[in-house]
Amino acid sequence: MRPERVAALVARWVRFYTRDLPTAVARRRVDEIDADLHDHITHERASGTGDRRIATSILSRMVRGVGADASWRGDQLKASAHRPETSGGAMDTHADIPRASSPQRPVSVTILAVLAALGGVGAVLGVLAGAFVIHGLDSLDATDAMIVTPAVALAAVYLAFAYGAWSLRSWGWPLGVVAGVGSIVYTTVVLVGGWAELMRDAPPLAIFGVLVVVIAAVGLVIWFRPGVRAAFERA
């Protein structure tokens, strides 16, 4: 009994139980099992295992998994009944399995989205308080405008990022990079330029500024983890 013949039998079984499933789903399962079968035969032969034993092993893996195959097919049929066909065709080599449920937002993304929302709201309130209450619009000069304008822009980026991250929009990830880098650059410039003044007039603000830089830096490290990026790509 040659392993290749048993592998062909398994491949026919896979094509049978993936019939009528969405093309991308069926294609992925067929291709994955094909690769598995090839790897199985290649590895076992390289290890010196006889053909009969390899063939038996392949057949055993197929038979023992028939129940799971049927159950998986049932799940995919139910899922595809609730969504339209999204595949570009049987030969769409880059299609992923259409998701049966809404994407999972990693906890780290949730935390960063909340922090960004709070930061954005806080920045807007701070600018409004400074411009209208503390200083008054009439007393704002060019220097103040150079500080306030980027703060307003950054606040807008924070709020947009908070929304994009929370709802796992595809643009949420790159906007997160912009928000993180923007925070670090802007806050560092403000702190370096006005450290003495801040420490004299408003030490808590100076400390808060340092905290913003630290949080933004840590946030960027988390942001570039594969799992975070994958969450936005899957959504």
């Binding site: 094909d34 690769a35 598995d36 893996r61 975070v228």
Partner: protein, 117 residues
């Protein structure tokens, strides 16, 4: 039946995450289906490779939960064989597995065999 949460793992799913975490710690960030089945046979009590249906259903479930992520390997880098689906443990997967108690093999663990190419 209520949907399972990502933190509630079946024994096979826990074992997959264990092996994935162990591979990651030894420097192997990605793995494929047969490689995983081989590693599970080498490290567990069973003399058989995990069944196709059982293995790929569990992998799909773990990916749905966000505990694994996957992609096709670069087709141009593949010569003379079908391209593999490469899986990778996510941060959430590592966190969930590290929190949960270790999956125990049913019998005596076997000596690890050589990794498939």
């Amino acid at each position: 039946m209520p949907r399972r949460s990502p933190e509630t793992l079946l024994p096979l799913e826990a074992e997959i995450l264990d092996v994935a975490l162990s591979m990651l710690r030894s420097g192997q960030a990605t793995f494929h289906g047969f490689g995983l089945a081989h590693a599970m046979r080498a490290g567990g009590a069973s003399r058989s490779l995990t069944a196709h249906g059982t293995l790929y259903k569990a992998l799909g479930r773990l990916e749905e939960f966000g505990l694994l992520t996957s992609r096709w390997e670069d087709a141009t880098a593949v010569e003379g064989r079908p391209r593999r689906r490469l899986y990778e443990l996510t941060m959430d997967g590592a966190r969930v597995r590290e929190r949960a108690p270790a999956a125990k093999p049913v019998g005596r663990p076997r000596r690890a065999a050589a990794e498939p190419a």
